[in-house]
């Protein structure tokens, strides 16, 4: 139960970061609070969208799904079930790989780091670590 709580909490933090970046992308927020300015470079680059959809929106959707699964898994009727553990491990592993791809683009293609993206990467990595460790333990 504790793991699912931690995952839900982290997913909510990640969701807020992704929502902030998406709001920037669609013009609700005019300027990112970034410090270095690289956030805007990364967000307005061609890699800020994938298949015509802002990358941040994938983050919003991904974190929302992880949060929802974790919350469902916390319901008393689901606590002993194994499927939420497996689903969280798979979802977060996918999210982690996507994060690796995005971080690679920042480091090796754009040569710029967006602090909010790093924050999201840390959150997603933590979720993946907790979720995968939980799935391995339950085997």
């Amino acid at each position: 139960m504790r793991r699912r709580q931690v995952i839900a909490l982290l997913a909510l933090v990640g969701f807020c970061i992704a929502l902030y970046l998406w709001f920037y992308k669609i013009g609700v927020i005019g300027k990112l609070q970034c410090g270095s300015g690289s956030c805007e470079y990364v967000q307005t680059s061609r890699y800020g969208a994938l298949f015509g959809v802002p990358v941040a929106l994938y983050g919003v959707a991904g974190y929302a799904v992880i949060f929802a699964v974790a919350m469902v898994g916390l319901q008393p009727s689901q606590l002993a079930r194994r499927w939420p553990t497996t689903a969280l491990a798979l979802l977060s592993a996918g999210g982690f790989l996507f994060t690796l791809y995005l971080t690679g683009i920042e480091l090796f293609v754009l040569h710029a780091i967006c602090r909010w993206c790093v924050g999201s990467a840390v959150v997603m990595s933590a979720i993946a670590a907790v979720a995968v460790e939980g799935a391995v333990r339950r085997r």
């Binding site: 709580q5 839900a8 909490l9 909510l12 933090v13 807020c16 929502l19 902030y20 709001f23 920037y24 992308k25 669609i26 013009g27 609700v28 927020i29 005019g30 300027k31 990112l32 609070q33 805007e40 470079y41 967000q43 307005t44 680059s45 061609r46 890699y47 800020g48 969208a49 994938l50 015509g52």
Partner: protein, 226 residues
Amino acid sequence: MKPFYLLLVLVAVVAGVLMWRASQNSGGDVSAAAADVPGIVTAADSAFQGYVLGSATAPVEVVEYADFQCPHCGEFANVQFPTIKDQLISTGRLRWRFRDYPLGSFPWSRIAALAGQCAGEQGKFWEMEDALFQHQSDWGMSRGNPTSAFRDLARGIGVDVDKYNACMDSQRYAGRIEASHREGSARGVTGTPTFYANGRELDNTRFGNSDAFKNLVDSLTGKVRH
């Protein structure tokens, strides 16, 4: 269980407040320069359809929505556009139309656009566009208003500086820039650079290089190589 739900609510509330504050501060003090304020749009402003490079009879027209301070626009202008100009525009196969789309996320975008328009008033838009993008990394990092840097660039391309200064002071093209921005937004532009070829939006993940434009022109003019 209760502290956990309280924690979730706390995170959501804090994030919500921070985002609301960020949205309220979207203008920011970096936009304090008068030239950074969107101008009032007149019918003449809306009628202006951007600066055009290339033959009026070219079979393909690309409209580019760009922000002079956007790094990716700068990279495109400095690395890819010279080749496009040499191979496609100069040969009469492609016509290029530049539209201002200041993003609002960079402090000097509108002032730079104004500098471009004021040089354009003297028939030097493309020279100024080139100069602004080539020196983007210099003035783009400026903490203070880069108007004097723009003036130096304008002088360097041979505009009449007195007329240029009068134009900048009057901000008479602020409305034109705003009209261009509104037109872009109405077409669905959200980032820069965004390209349209003969009215069709191009996927900017593929059209960041000159080869893609060459292939596009080939395909639109029936010269597809297999």
